[in-house]
């Protein structure tokens, strides 16, 4: 291994150790025995087949959002609006399922159409953010954030308004769909191998696309230096729009899967922060798709396992978020420190 590689590994391991140290200190401050608390997270994640299934259920949307932001990151775009794109995917999927649920169409076809509608919904919402940036000069971070708020408001309007349950006005969501319109899952679980399979295929496809295709290379060129790419004949704004569209499509797919596989209805906050979590995963892996699956799996496992912190130690389960955020923050800091170190060297 070259010297620089050792330095890289050293900084990354150092960041992980510091993150663990800080988390441990926080646990001690909160009155929880750290080792037992970590053990409880692990047992909460892997202690039963149900819990492992639950990890896989949450892994799926996280893989999709991570895949999406890897593409926009490659094109040099911070697609903060991914939460809204996921929400629009859920809305479009719900709309199609509602429209077709009482028709004679085969349920499988309705599910497929619903998922496709979700893909389109997410892509269109992302295209809006892309258009705002490309043609309106609106930074994609601000445009995305604004569109996130709009998507939330739209969901609330639909849930309390035209799509409300008969006799009910509640943020609990729309009327659950008939079981025949659920994405098939393993018996007695919400784990859909279809959802999982699609998500894995997407992340694998993104890996190969970014690693070994002209498309991926051009996206990266746009992301690294847009002007240079333009001078080299790459149609930059078209590639930016393409990145938005593809990311939105994956986010929309993720939202559609939440509707057809997990909740079986539309509800406010259906994106559940998966978009932002996907951003964290992408940053943690330094935008290398190779690591997306295992790190997303790790995040999903922490999410599930940390529920035990509240059950056993009365700690708020949002502690999982603290651990994840710390990890990302320190790895980014470590990367910054590494670059300074190498420059000085």
């Amino acid at each position: 291994m070259k010297k620089n590689s050792w330095i890289n590994v050293g900084f990354q391991v150092g960041a992980l150790v510091v993150a663990l140290l800080i988390t441990t200190l926080l646990l001690v401050a909160a009155g929880a025995p750290p080792l037992k608390a970590y053990a409880s997270i692990i047992s909460g994640a892997f202690g039963s087949s149900n819990n492992i299934e639950n990890i896989l259920i949450t892994w799926s949307p996280l893989l999709l959002t991570t895949a999406g932001v890897l593409i926009t990151f490659s094109a040099g775009l911070w697609n903060i609006g991914i939460e809204g794109q996921m929400t629009l995917g859920a809305i479009f999927a719900t709309g199609v399922l509602r429209a077709l649920q009482n028709t004679q169409l085969p349920p499988a076809l309705i599910i497929i159409l619903g998922i496709l509608a979700g893909v389109i919904g997410g892509a269109l919402w992302a295209a809006l953010a892309g258009a705002l940036k490309t043609f309106g000069g609106v930074n994609e971070i601000f445009g995305g954030l604004g569109l996130n708020f709009v998507s939330t408001a739209l969901t609330i309007y639909l849930v309390f308004g035209p799509w409300k349950r008969p006799g009910v006005g509640s943020m609990s969501g729309t009327q659950p769909f008939d079981e025949k319109l659920w994405l098939p899952s393993l018996p007695h679980t919400e784990l859909s191998l279809w959802a999982l399979g699609i998500s894995l295929l997407v992340i694998i496809a993104v890996y190969f696309m970014l690693r070994g295709t002209h498309l991926g290379l051009r996206l990266k060129a746009v992301g690294k230096n847009s002007k240079a790419a333009f001078l080299m004949g790459v149609p930059t704004w078209q590639y930016s729009m393409f990145a938005f569209l593809l990311c939105g499509a994956f986010a929309g797919l993720s939202g559609a899967i939440q509707v057809t596989s997990v909740y079986h209805r539309l509800l406010p906050n259906i994106s559940n922060g998966y978009g932002f979590l996907g951003l964290l995963v992408a940053m943690l892996i330094n935008y290398q798709a190779l690591w997306a699956a295992p790190i997303a799996f790790f995040f999903a496992a922490v999410n599930i396992g940390s529920v035990q912190l509240q059950i056993q130690y009365k700690l708020d389960s949002s502690f999982a978020g603290v651990l994840q955020d710390l990890l990302v923050l320190l790895v980014l800091l470590g990367e910054g420190a590494r670059q300074r170190f190498i420059k000085k060297g």
Binding site: S43, G44, G47, S48, S49, N50, N51, I52, E53, N54, I55, L56, I57, T58, P61, T152, I156, F160, K164, P166, G167, V168, G169, S170, M171, S172, G173, L186, P187, H188, T189, E190, L191, L193, L196, L200, I204, Y207, V262, Y263, L267, P268, N269, N272, G273, Y274, L277, L290, A293, P294, F297, N303, I304, V307, Q308, Q310, I311, D316, S317, S318
Partner: protein, 430 residues
């Protein structure tokens, strides 16, 4: 080359991981023959609950999913206290709980209530309380997927054989208290106190439960306004404003603080809270400090008036302990069976913690004279006065109960609209 090997290894590891993890679940799915015995009658609509005898000590873990915080001074604290009561009554029992469990809760990103129940089961829980209607679908789904685990759906009606939504769920019991009586008392206290004749009802979301509770408060208010005070019923204004959920969720629900303020700023001098948290009391206290003569009624939790004692007229509250303990005992001794309970108050002693399912505690804001009148009204209810007696019309003018007709339990539980004379959205059920 090394990168390729690493790539293939990682992909292979991912696939193996998925394949191994996707094997059939072995631990929680029981054969149909393991369903608990069903010797107990499937529907129990009890008037009062008998005292629960202390049972032999036995290690028994049960779990509770709380829609809010365990110290919310409201619904979740009342159900949490019900769990503590179980711990007292069943020696060796232990409660595990999770707070803030609702659809889309940021505390558990992407997790459903049934997935959270899995976490409680993995710690040994044999009985799970789902404490909110927001988890109604999840409770049923979990019960069906886990036939060896007992489930209590608080405020649900899946197991009510005479209900609209009856679904076979052999390992589930649904429990609700007859809060309608206590809401009538709250409505009466409001009507006796109001000086402007304008009563506001701070409503949560809209469903069967909240419609019938708001309507019960109105019936109590109308009765005391017209029959006790002798005033013209048409001069009473009773307005319901819904926030969209049981408590404030910024950016999602209407803000209950603003709704309460709006009532007090538009001439309403008494606000009856129907939500799980205490904004009505807090805002009434502020308004009083600013010089307004206003009052509020709390909800859910026995000591809720303590938030703002001077302006509190009283609190209709739940006393879940006796029903929870009785049900948990059946889980311990193996006699747990599907049934529905809509438990009433103990009219002989409304505040007995070991008997009635609901109660009413008067607040310091209620004048002595009105307190006496309210006691008389309570005595009438205890003696059999039933305000759910016709003629009663729905909000849109449709006759619901003809003169002299007493509403059935189904007509009360599934009230399709607010009542004539009430203002506010009904969201009629089809």
């Amino acid at each position: 080359m090394r990168k390729n090997v690493l790539t293939i290894a990682l992909l292979a590891m991912t696939i193996v991981l998925v394949l191994t993890a996707c094997g059939p679940a072995a631990t929680t799915v029981a054969p149909a023959t393991s369903v608990p015995p069903t010797s107990v009658p499937s529907t129990q609509v009890a008037a009062t609950l008998p005292p629960v005898p202390t049972v032999t000590p036995a290690p028994f873990i049960f779990g509770m999913l709380l829609v809010g915080a365990k110290n919310d001074n409201g619904w979740s604290q009342a159900t949490y206290d019900g769990g503590l009561y179980v711990e007292q009554q069943i020696a060796g029992s232990k409660m595990l709980y999770l707070e803030n469990v609702y659809s889309g809760s940021p505390s558990y990103p992407g997790l459903t209530a049934s997935q959270l129940a899995d976490q409680l089961v993995s710690q040994g829980a044999k009985l799970i309380f789902f404490n909110s209607d927001d988890m109604k679908d999840e409770a049923l789904k979990f019960a069906n997927a886990n036939p060896k685990i007992y489930v209590v759906g608080v405020s649900d009606d899946w197991t009510w054989k005479d209900g609209k939504n009856y679904t076979v769920s052999a390992n589930q019991v649904d429990i609700m208290g007859r809060m309608e009586y206590m809401k009538m008392i709250a409505g009466c206290a409001a009507a006796l106190t109001t000086q402007t004749g304008k009563i506001g009802f701070l409503g949560p979301l809209i469903n069967d439960e909240t419609r019938r509770l708001a309507a019960s408060a109105y019936l109590g208010a109308k009765y005391c306004w017209s029959q006790v005070l002798g005033k013209d019923a048409t001069k009473l204004t009773f307005t319901v404003t819904w926030i969209g959920f049981w408590f404030n969720i910024p950016g999602v629900t209407a803000d209950p603080t603003q709704v309460a303020d709006n009532f007090f700023n538009t001439g309403y001098d008494v606000v009856i809270s129907g939500i799980d948290t205490t904004e009505a009391l807090v805002e009434a206290e502020k308004a009083k400090t600013a010089g307004k003569a206003v009052w509020a009624l709390a909800y859910d939790y026995k000591t809720n008036c303590g938030v703002a004692p001077d302006i509190c007229l009283g609190v209709p509250y739940f006393n879940w302990g006796p029903a929870f303990a009785a049900t948990a005992k059946t889980a311990v001794d193996g006699t747990f069976a599907e049934n529905f309970q809509w438990n009433g108050p103990d009219w002989t002693n409304l505040s007995n913690p070991d008997t009635g399912a609901v109660g009413f505690a008067k607040g310091q804001g209620l004048s002595a004279d009105n307190g006496t009148k309210l006691d008389a009204f309570i005595a009438q209810l205890a003696a059999g006065l039933n305000l759910w007696t016709g003629p009663i019309n729905l909000q849109d003018g449709t006759a619901y109960l003809t003169a002299g007709t007493v509403a059935t339990d189904q007509q009360i539980w599934y009230l399709p609209q607010l009542l004539e004379g009430m203002e506010g959205a009904s969201v009629p059920s089809k």
